[in-house]
C-alpha cells in the first residue's frame, strides 16, 4: 500500500470494507476499549482536571491569536541558540527543504522520530524519490513501515494489527531493511520488542542525520519538546550529527511555564500514564553534546487558512493526544484508514478538510463521518468542540460559503452531489414552516399506512437494509389532541393509554 492518501474513496465506502473486516473490528474494539478505561481512570486522579483543560485551551487560544508575534520570537530564539529556521508554505516546499538539507550532509539515510507533521507532508516518500532512505524508529511506525502499510491511529499507528500479524511482518520484512528478525520469533510482546530493539540499534548507531517533529516549541527560549514512551526518540535527537525538525506552526507555546499544563494533560489523555517515560528538550546546538547542526522547518500547509476561520480554528489547539479516536464509536467500527488521512478519527474529520480543503470526495465526506454523539468533545484535553466544527464544515460542504484558501478569501460553491438533499431540505423546511402542510402529510401517511412498503427506495434504502421501519400510527398526536381536547373530552381517557 502506498503512503499517499490521494484518491481515497469517500468515507462511507472506505468504512464499508472496514466494518465487515471482523479481525480489524476485533483489534480496534479491544485496543480502544482498553485505553478508554485507563484514560478515564488517569483523568479522575487529577482533582483539577477541568481547570487544566481550561488552561490548556486558553494558552493555545492566546498563542494562536498572537501567532505572528510568537513565531518571530521563536525564530529569533532558535537562531540565537545556534539553529537555522526555514519556512515552508506547503508540503512540497517542506519536502524540498528537508531533501536539500539531507543531501547537503552527503548522507543517503536518516533515522526518524515518530512525527505526524512528516507523515502529513509525505516526507518519507519524497526522500525515497531522491534516493534517501528514511527509517522509522517508533515501534508502531516500524511495524507500519515494514508492513508497507499506512498508519491508522495518531498515537498507535499499528492499532489495527494484532500480535500474530506483527510477528509475521517482522519475520518476513526485517531482513530487507537491515538486521533480520531472530530465528523462531514468537508473538510474545517481549520477543517482538527485543527483535525491534536489535533491528533499530544498528540504525541509531549508524545514522548521521536525524529527522523529528515536536510536540511543543517554546518561543521564549527556542526549545523544542518531544514527549514519548519508548526512548527511540531520544536516541535520534542526541546521536546524529545533524538534526532536522519539521514542525507545524501551531505547535508553539509562549513560555516554559505553559508546558506545565500540557505535560500533565497530554500523557494522561493519550497513554493514560501519569507521566510519559521520556520528555526530551533541545535548544539549538551545544558544543560536544548532541547534534552539531540543527535545522527547524516550520510548516504552514493550510494552517493559516484554518486560523482564518473563526469556528474551525479551534482544531489548531489539538495536541495530538488521540483521546478522541479512542472514545469515538465511529472510529472504532470504521478504523483509521477510512478517514483517508494521517489524522483519523474525530480530530481528523475536522482537521483534514480544513488543511486540505473540501474539494475532494474524501474531504467532503469527512464532516459527515460522525453521529455527533459528543464523546470526543467530552474527552478533549483542550476542549475542542469537535461536533460544532463538524456541523460548521457540513454547512461548507452542503451550502458553500466563505472560506480562506492559500491566504485568499473565497466563496465556496456547494460540493457536488448535494443538490437532491438541498432540495429535500428546502421542501421539508417549507412544509415544517406551515403546520397545515405538515398535518396534511401526516394524515396522508396515516391513511395510506397499510400500503407502506417494508423497504424504502432512494436514500432511505440504507435505513431499511438493516433496520425495520416504524409503523405509522392511525392518528397523529395533533389530531388526537384536537379531537379529545387533550384527552379532556370524549374518549380521551381511553385514548390516553394504549
Amino acid at each position: 500500500m502506498s503512503g499517499t492518501f490521494v484518491g481515497m474513496p469517500a468515507f462511507p465506502k472506505a468504512a464499508h470494507e472496514a466494518v465487515h473486516n471482523t479481525t480489524l473490528r476485533g483489534n480496534l474494539r479491544h485496543a480502544t476499549h482498553t485505553i478508554r478505561g485507563k484514560r478515564a481512570k488517569a483523568v479522575t486522579e487529577v482533582s483539577d482536571w477541568a481547570e487544566l483543560r481550561e488552561a490548556g485551551k486558553r494558552i493555545k487560544d492566546h498563542t494562536l491569536r498572537h501567532l505572528d508575534r510568537y513565531l518571530v520570537q521563536l525564530e529569533e530564539s532558535v537562531t540565537a541558540a545556534g539553529g537555522t529556521v526555514h519556512w515552508a508554505a506547503d508540503a512540497d516546499e517542506a519536502n524540498r527543504i528537508v531533501t536539500y538539507l539531507v543531501k547537503a550532509t552527503g548522507e543517503s539515510e536518516v533515522v526518524k522520530v515518530k512525527s505526524m507533521a512528516t507523515q502529513e507532508i509525505g516526507l518519507n516518500e519524497a526522500l525515497e524519490a531522491e534516493g534517501i532512505h528514511a527509517y522509522e524508529t517508533d515501534l508502531a511506525e516500524l511495524i507500519v513501515q515494514l508492513g508497507k502499510d499506512r498508519p491508522s491511529h495518531i498515537l498507535v499507528p499499528a492499532i489495527h494489527r494484532n500480535r500474530g500479524e506483527i510477528r509475521d511482518i517482522f519475520a518476513r520484512e526485517m531482513s530487507e531493511w537491515g538486521r533480520p528478525a531472530p530465528e523462531g520469533l514468537t508473538d510474545t510482546p517481549a520477543e517482538l520488542a527485543e527483535a525491534a530493539r536489535l533491528h533499530l540499534r544498528e540504525k541509531f548507531l549508524r545514522a548521521k542525520v536525524g529527522v523529528s517533529g515536536a510536540n511543543f516549541m517554546v518561543a521564549e527560549t527556542g526549545t523544542l519538546v518531544v514527549v514519548e514512551s519508548e526512548g527511540n526518540g531520544r536516541m535520534c535527537l542526541t546521536l546524529p550529527e545533524t538534526l532536522i525538525s519539521v514542525v507545524g506552526i501551531e505547535k508553539i507555546v509562549p513560555t516554559w511555564q505553559d508546558l506545565e499544563v500540557f505535560l500533565q494533560t497530554l500523557p494522561r489523555s493519550s497513554t493514560a500514564e501519569r507521566m510519559n517515560p521520556y520528555t526530551s528538550t533541545w535548544t539549538g546546538t551545544t558544543d560536544e553534546d548532541g547534534p552539531s547542526t540543527f535545522h527547524l522547518v516550520l510548516i504552514d500547509n493550510g494552517r493559516t487558512d484554518t486560523l482564518a476561520d473563526e469556528v474551525g480554528r479551534q482544531a489548531l489547539r489539538c495536541i495530538r493526544c488521540s483521546a478522541c479516536l479512542n472514545v469515538c464509536p465511529v472510529y472504532e467500527r470504521a478504523g483509521g484508514h477510512a478517514y483517508g488521512s494521517v489524522y483519523p478519527g474525530p480530530i481528523g474529520a475536522i482537521l483534514s478538510p480544513q488543511l486540505r480543503g473540501t474539494a475532494s470526495e474524501i474531504d467532503a465526506s469527512l464532516p459527515y463521518a460522525s453521529s455527533l454523539c459528543g464523546a470526543c468533545y467530552e474527552v478533549c484535553p483542550v476542549a475542542i468542540d469537535i461536533p460544532e466544527v463538524l456541523v460548521h464544515l457540513r454547512e461548507r460542504v452542503a451550502q458553500g460559503g466563505p472560506a480562506t484558501e492559500k491566504g485568499n478569501k473565497v466563496v465556496l460553491k456547494p460540493a457536488k452531489g448535494h443538490a437532491a438533499e438541498r432540495a429535500a431540505m428546502r421542501a421539508a423546511r417549507w412544509a415544517l414552516s406551515h403546520p397545515g402542510a405538515l398535518r396534511t402529510g401526516q394524515r396522508l401517511a396515516s391513511r395510506t399506512r397499510r400500503l407502506h412498503p417494508r423497504t424504502l427506495p432512494g436514500p432511505g434504502k440504507a435505513w431499511s437494509a438493516s433496520r425495520d421501519l416504524p409503523a405509522v400510527p392511525a392518528e397523529p398526536f395533533r389530531d388526537w389532541w384536537q379531537r379529545t381536547n387533550g384527552g379532556r373530552t370524549n374518549g380521551g381517557k381511553q385514548e390516553g393509554t394504549k
Binding site: 462511507p12 468504512a15 459528543g374 425495520d468 387533550g486 390516553g496
Partner: protein, 251 residues
C-alpha cells in the same frame, strides 16, 4: 403553571403514544398542559446536516409559538438540546455574519424555559416518585444529546428506580452512542448499523424485556434493529413508563 408541550415532529407523526403519555403524566402531577397547534419542528435535522439557513425560519417559528409560556417541556433530549445549546449558537453565527442581533433576540426567550421531560420533573416539579407502576425488567440507554448535550445525569434513572414493580438493570456500554445520529444513519449506514447492533447485543445481555430511553429517534433506530435481529426486546419511551399506573397500566 401554564406549560406547553413541545412534542417534536417525529413524535407527533410517528409516536403519538408518547405524547399522550406526557399529557397523562403531567396532568396527574397537577400541571396544566397545552399543545400549541402552530408547532412543527425545532430545525435540528436541518442544522445538523449543514443547512443552518434552512433551520433559522423553523427556530424563529418555534420561538413565536412558544415564547409566551412559562415552561416548554419536550420528551426528547436531542430536540431539547437543539433549543438550549444550538439556538444561542445560531444567534451568534448570525451576528458574526453581520446580520445584527435580531435572530439572537428572537430566540433568547425560549432558551432558558425549555426542559427535557425528566429534567422538568426532577428540577422544576421536584419529584422523583411520580406514582408509576410498571412491573417489568428494564434497562436504560442514556441518549447522547440528553447525556452530554443537556447533562441529564442520573435524573432518568432516579425516576425509573422510583417506579413500583420496575426492576432496573444496568446496560453495558450505556454511554456509547447507538448510531442513529439523524441523517448519519443514512449517510453512513454501515457504521450506524454496526453501532446499533452492538447496542442491541449489549441490551440483550442484560436479560431485560424493555430498553427505555428519553428520545424516540434513538428508539426508532434501536427498535428497528431489535426487530430485524428478532431479539424479543421492545423499545419504550420513558414517558410511557412514567405514565403507567396500576389503574391504567401501559399495555
Amino acid at each position: 403553571m401554564r406549560v406547553a408541550l413541545f412534542l417534536t415532529c417525529v413524535n407527533d407523526t410517528l409516536y403519538p403514544d408518547t405524547g399522550r403519555a406526557v399529557v397523562k403524566l403531567l396532568t396527574r402531577l397537577g400541571v396544566d398542559v397545552d399543545f400549541p397547534m402552530g408547532q412543527t419542528c425545532c430545525g435540528q435535522a436541518h442544522y445538523n446536516t449543514g443547512y443552518r439557513h434552512e433551520a433559522e425560519p423553523l427556530a424563529r417559528k418555534f420561538s413565536d409559538v412558544f415564547r409566551e409560556y412559562e415552561a416548554i417541556v419536550t420528551p426528547s433530549g436531542s430536540c431539547g438540546a437543539m433549543v438550549r445549546e444550538l439556538y444561542p449558537r445560531m444567534g451568534e453565527r448570525a451576528r458574526a455574519e453581520g446580520r445584527g442581533d435580531t435572530l439572537a433576540r428572537t430566540l433568547a426567550p425560549v432558551v432558558p424555559k425549555t426542559y427535557e421531560l425528566t429534567e422538568f420533573l426532577v428540577d422544576v416539579l421536584g419529584v422523583t416518585d411520580v406514582g408509576a407502576y410498571y412491573p417489568h425488567k428494564v434497562t436504560y440507554h442514556p441518549t447522547c444529546h440528553g447525556l452530554r448535550g443537556l447533562g441529564l445525569g442520573e435524573r432518568p434513572r432516579r425516576l425509573l428506580q422510583a417506579v413500583k414493580g420496575l426492576e432496573l438493570v444496568e446496560l453495558p456500554g450505556a454511554e456509547e452512542c447507538c448510531g442513529f445520529g439523524g441523517t448519519f444513519a443514512m449517510k453512513n449506514s454501515d457504521v450506524s448499523a454496526a453501532m446499533g447492533a452492538d447496542k442491541v447485543r449489549n441490551a440483550e445481555s442484560t436479560g431485560a424485556e424493555v430498553l427505555c430511553a428519553a428520545d424516540n429517534s434513538c428508539l426508532m433506530h434501536i427498535g428497528g434493529t431489535m426487530a430485524r435481529l428478532r431479539t424479543g426486546m421492545r423499545p419504550v419511551h420513558i414517558a410511557e413508563i412514567l405514565a403507567s399506573t396500576e389503574e391504567e397500566p401501559l399495555g
